[in-house]
Amino acid sequence: MARNGISRRAACSLLLAGAAGRFAVSPARADDAVIRIGYIRSMARHPVISLLDAPPPDAGLAGATLAMDDNNTTGRLLGQSFDLIDVPVRKGTDITAVLARLAGEGVRLVLTDLPADGVLALAEAGRAQGMTIINLAAPDDSLRAADCRGNVIHVAPSRSMLADAVAQYLVWKKWTRWLLVLGSHPEDKLLAEAYRRAARRFGARIVQERVSEDTGGSRQTDTGLVQMQQQMPLLTQGAPDYDVLVAADENEVFAGYLPYRTWDARPVAGSAGLEPVTWDASSESWGGAQLQSRFVRQFHRRMMPLDMQAWTGARMIGEAASRSNSADGDKLVAFIKGTDFGVAAYKGQLLTLRDWDLQLRQPILLADGRTVVSISPQPGFLHQVTELDTLGVDRPETKCRLP
């Protein structure tokens, strides 16, 4: 996702070796029950199409930091203190060694924005020490299905949730004839499959699929603009009649170039144009204005989706601590997985956890980069339990078998 501010390019190339810098732990107040939270944070970055989407060095960390401030403000009243141990990891970092050191520091809950293979490696390595991993960024449905783990909680929405959020809106608009254009990376194929599933579920029709091969060197350069003006019409020329172009391009190779350059005058959704996101810097409903304001004041930049995912992950732990009045890692995880858990995240309703795959239920914002155009689930898509479960893989369909 273009505006999520995190690399997926590095998904298949997480090399393990070396070590991160020293841990910085702020001192807790005397007598407070201390809750230490680790954040194993990917520093991998890939080129972006728009300069506006370039992830800042503290992408994610800023959101987690703000949530820790919020947790500590509340904790001060309850005799609880929260420490964030930030561990930036680069290509070559031995993440299992990092996890072992965090365990030695008394950490039981670890946030991470590593891609799926990193999440799984941490889950395996942390199981023996009773550690729970909070997946902030990996959207892979496999992590919520065959590869689901009892000690991994997903804050990041899955690809199927994101695709369903887009699909519901397009169907509500009666833009049901889609031209699906996907990239050539493995993640793009998975995302395209999520859009095929969404089309089937909600009554849209993919009139044709096209693949935009990543041949390298096609990003915007001094001459690239001219190239894009030629290439994007070519990519979309001669398609059967369609209402909207749906782009599946997680690595930001081409989708950002599609709006205004398609052969036919059609809107673009998915990886460009109308994008499904967990947050947008323009979202001000449901108290969002004050979160944006606090964030900008503290970090001197706008809040990105990854910041929101990290904020939410860290706030879930804080909420569990104040509701259960406990600092014990096992009790916090049990509370988060229990029926009384819900966290407010400026989306108009409480976010709760699906017990079948430990995925956080959440509305998905549809943003065009300037405003929030809509929020899914859309009116009229009904569900017997909660309409949030019209997004993604529902209980009867799940392939996840938790212990």
Binding site: D70, T73, T74, L77, L78, G287, A344, G348, E387
Partner: protein, 330 residues
């Protein structure tokens, strides 16, 4: 109470007074004032004519709105201007401001008219202001995103709710210290004491409940929940709370449920629901309790409820995204 004015403000009033003949004012009519969050304005509603008669331009993002006890001054939290503006209710001109601290959202005045307690949403604190001297007397740290403010009828207890910490914070008036924190359901908005001081009610917007709190024991006695046929539970988001003077009936505004719940305040049982405008938040009675007025943020109007008949009798258009409402005492 007296509100101090700047010299400039006094001069301004003199100027305005000279121009009075040109500006017919609704001073004699029963008047409601509505803060319009998106319009940076206050709508002045004549409740005899049941229509908006004037619009006052104010600072950015006006939310909390209140009249001083003598009705001569209207106080408005201009949240994005980090100030509280003072409006003379005779001239409808801004005549001064108070040092509210950053991002003031709501406030409360004791019956004595001083001091003013302001919730500073972005700074996790309550600011206490001495109104005559316009000096900050104290800043009291509370929880994340302070919102609702309430004062006990005896004036000894101040309550602040915090939207992200999810607590009602009890502040001792004399020492200005937080003496108790009561955890409530998610996103508490409004706190309101019964007139006899026996209970404090706190609405939880995302929890969908109202917590009834014993203000002596600092404990939740019961939680009121709401069930409206045909509406998703998530659409029921309680915000504003008002008690009739006899504490027999409570009205709770339910946000995007577009309804006001009528509650038997003695048993805490919901009696009925009244359909009003869209996203109803704050409410105010007329002094005789004949009418209850509601601000409807998404339909840009206020609904007028006939309290005796429990019927919605009128919608009156105001500005964009009406937030708060207050009715003149005369």
């Amino acid at each position: 109470m007296q509100v101090a004015m700047t010299d400039a403000a006094v001069r301004l009033i003199a100027t305005i007074a000279a121009a009075w003949a040109l500006a017919p004012l609704p001073a004699l009519a029963l008047t409601a004032y509505v803060s319009n969050e998106r319009d940076n304005s206050i709508s002045v509603v004549d409740l005899d004519a049941m229509k908006t008669v004037r619009t006052i331009a104010v600072g950015q993002r006006p939310r909390g709105i209140m009249l001083t006890a003598d009705g001569t001054s209207l106080l408005v939290c201009a949240s994005d201007d980090d100030t509280i503006q003072i409006i003379d209710t005779r001239t409808l001109q801004i005549v001064g401001d108070l040092p509210s601290g950053p991002d003031p959202e709501t406030f409360a005045l004791p019956a004595t008219g001083n001091p003013l307690f302001v919730s500073n949403e972005n700074d996790n604190r309550v600011t206490v202001i001495d109104v005559p001297t316009r000096k900050v007397l104290a800043e009291i740290p509370t929880g994340v995103e302070p919102e609702g403010m309430a004062i006990s009828p005896d004036g000894q207890t101040i309550v602040n709710t915090s939207e992200t910490t999810n607590m009602a914070h009890f502040i001792d008036y004399a020492t200005r210290k937080v003496v108790a924190n009561v955890l409530v359901d998610p996103r508490p908005r409004v706190a309101q004491f019964k007139h006899d001081g026996s209970e404090l009610w706190v609405s939880s917007e995302l929890g969908g409940t109202v917590s009834v709190i014993d203000p002596v024991k600092h404990a939740v006695k019961t939680r009121i929940s709401f069930d409206i046929r045909g509406l998703r539970a998530e659409a029921i988001q309680p915000v504003g709370i008002r008690f009739t003077k006899d504490d027999a009936t409570a009205f709770v505004a339910l946000g995007p449920a577009n309804r006001v719940a009528v509650i038997d305040a003695r048993t805490a049982k919901v009696a009925s629901y009244l359909l009003v405008g869209q996203r109803v938040w704050q409410m105010a009675f007329t002094p005789d309790e004949k009418y209850l007025l509601t601000t409807n943020g998404l339909s840009n109007d206020i609904s007028v409820i006939d309290v005796a008949a429990l019927k919605v009798i009128k919608s009156i258009q105001v500005g964009r995204m009406p937030w708060g409402i207050v009715v003149s005492p005369q």
